[in-house]
C-alpha cells in the first residue's frame, strides 16, 4: 500500500490545552478534542512526511504501541478527520490549504 500524506486544513483553529489539541472548524464551528496520540499525529501533519514515518518516528517512539496496529489506527483517524474537513489526506505530498 502506498504511503499517505496528511496536512492540516487552513480552515481550522487549533491550540493545545493541557496536553490535548482543541480544534475548531471554521466551516461549521464544530469543536474537536484530540487525545495525546492524535495530537502527535496532528502536529506532525506537514503534508510532506508520510503517515507511516510519523507513526514510526513519533507515535511508536512516544507511546508503547505495536507499529502495524498503530498505523492502522492512525489511518482510520486521519480518514475521520478528513471527513470533518480538518485534515487533508493524499497519496502524494500536499501543501496545506
Amino acid at each position: 500500500m502506498s504511503s499517505l500524506y496528511i496536512a492540516r486544513s487552513r480552515q481550522v483553529a487549533a491550540r493545545e490545552l493541557g496536553g490535548e489539541m482543541m480544534i475548531m472548524s471554521a466551516r461549521d464551528s464544530t469543536l474537536f478534542s484530540l487525545n495525546d496520540v492524535a495530537t502527535v499525529i496532528w502536529q506532525a501533519a506537514d503534508g510532506q512526511t508520510p503517515l507511516d514515518e510519523i507513526v514510526e518516528r513519533r507515535v511508536c517512539a512516544e507511546f508503547d504501541v505495536e507499529p502495524a496496529e498503530a498505523l492502522k489506527d492512525a489511518e482510520s483517524l486521519v480518514r475521520e478527520l478528513e471527513g470533518h474537513g480538518i485534515l487533508m489526506v493524499s497519496e502524494t505530498p500536499v501543501v496545506s490549504g
Partner: protein, 370 residues
Amino acid sequence: MNVLMEEMNRRAVALGVPLGVQLDVTYRCNERCVHCYLDHDDHGEMTTAEIRGVLDQLAAAGVFFLTLSGGEVLMRMDFFPILEYARLLMFCVKIKTNAFMIRESQADRIRDLGVQSVQVSIYSHRPEVHDAITKLPGSLKRSIAGIRLLQARGLKVIIANVLMRQNYSDYAGVKALAQELGVEYTIDPTVTPRMDGDRGIVALGIGGDDLRQVFRNPDLVGNVEEFCAPPSAVNDEALDELPCSASHTFCYISPYGDVFPCVQFPLPTGNVRQQRFLEIWRHSPQMNEVRSIRPRNLPVCSTCSHVGTCTRCPGLAYMEGNMRGPSSQDCEKSFARTGIPSANMILKSASRPNPSLVQIALRSSAVPVS
C-alpha cells in the same frame, strides 16, 4: 454551551490559561456612533511588528479565541497582514466590524483566511434611524451590502443590535432583516460608559418598561417563564462560583498595548510594550485582585436574592466606583426580568427621602402654624 466547550473552559480555569482575548487593533473609526465608549484619535497604536509580537505571545500563552475589533478594524491599512498572521498562528478568529468597507476582495480574503465569524453592528432596518446613530450617511446600505458579501461566501455573520431609546422600537425589524439576510441576530440592551469614566451616554440606554418588554418577548429570550423566573434560594455554590470570565479565561488588549480584565473593565493591569503578556496575566496585582473576587466577597450583592442568576458585570461595577459593588445596570435587568428589586435597589430606596412625605411637609410648611 456544548459539553466540550464547558470542559475546555473548566480546564483553562484550572490551568490559568487565557482562553480568549479581544485585541482592539485601532480606536479609529469611520462611524461616530452616539453611544460609543471610545475616542477615535490615534494616540500611538501598536505597529504591525508589535502586534505580531503580541500575537506570538498570546499563542504561546494558550489563547484560542481571538477577537479582532476596534474602532473599525479596516481603518488599519495592515489589517489583513495582521489577520493573516493571526490565522497562521491558528487562532479561532472573530472579527467585529461595521462592514462598511467590505467589498468583494475583503470578503474573499476573510473567507480564505478561515475566520470563524464576523459580527456587524446594525441599529435599525431603517436608514434614517441607523445612520442617525452612526452619524455616517449611507452606512446602513453599505453595511448590509458588506453582510451580503460575507454571507454569500459561507461565512458565519452575526448582527449585533444594541438597544437604545433611539432605536428600541426597531428590534423586530432588525431581526427580520437578519432572517432575510440569512445571518444570526443578537441584542444587547447595555450601553457601556465611556472608557474615560464619563457616564453620560448610559442615559441613552433603555430601562423600565422597555427592558421589561424585551425580556418578555419569546422571539428574543426563548422560554419567557424560565427567563423571567424569580431567583431560586441562594446557596454556597452560587456564592463561590466565578463571577465571569474577566481575568479568569479572558482579557482585553487596547491598540496601545494596555491590558485590561475585559473590554468593559478599564482597570489597568499592565502594558505589553513594557512587559511580557504572561507576566501581566499571571502576576499583575490588579489581575489577581479581580481573579480573587467571588460573589460572597461582594458586600451588597452577596445579600441579594439575585446573586445566583444576576448578569452582574464587575467592569460596570468598577466604572460605578467599586469593583466589589453592585452594577446598577444589571440590578435593573434583574428587576425587569423578575419584578423583584435587588438588594442594591432596596438599599438605595431606603436611603432616599420618601417624595410623598416631602410633598406633605412642604404643603404643611406653607400653612401658618399658629
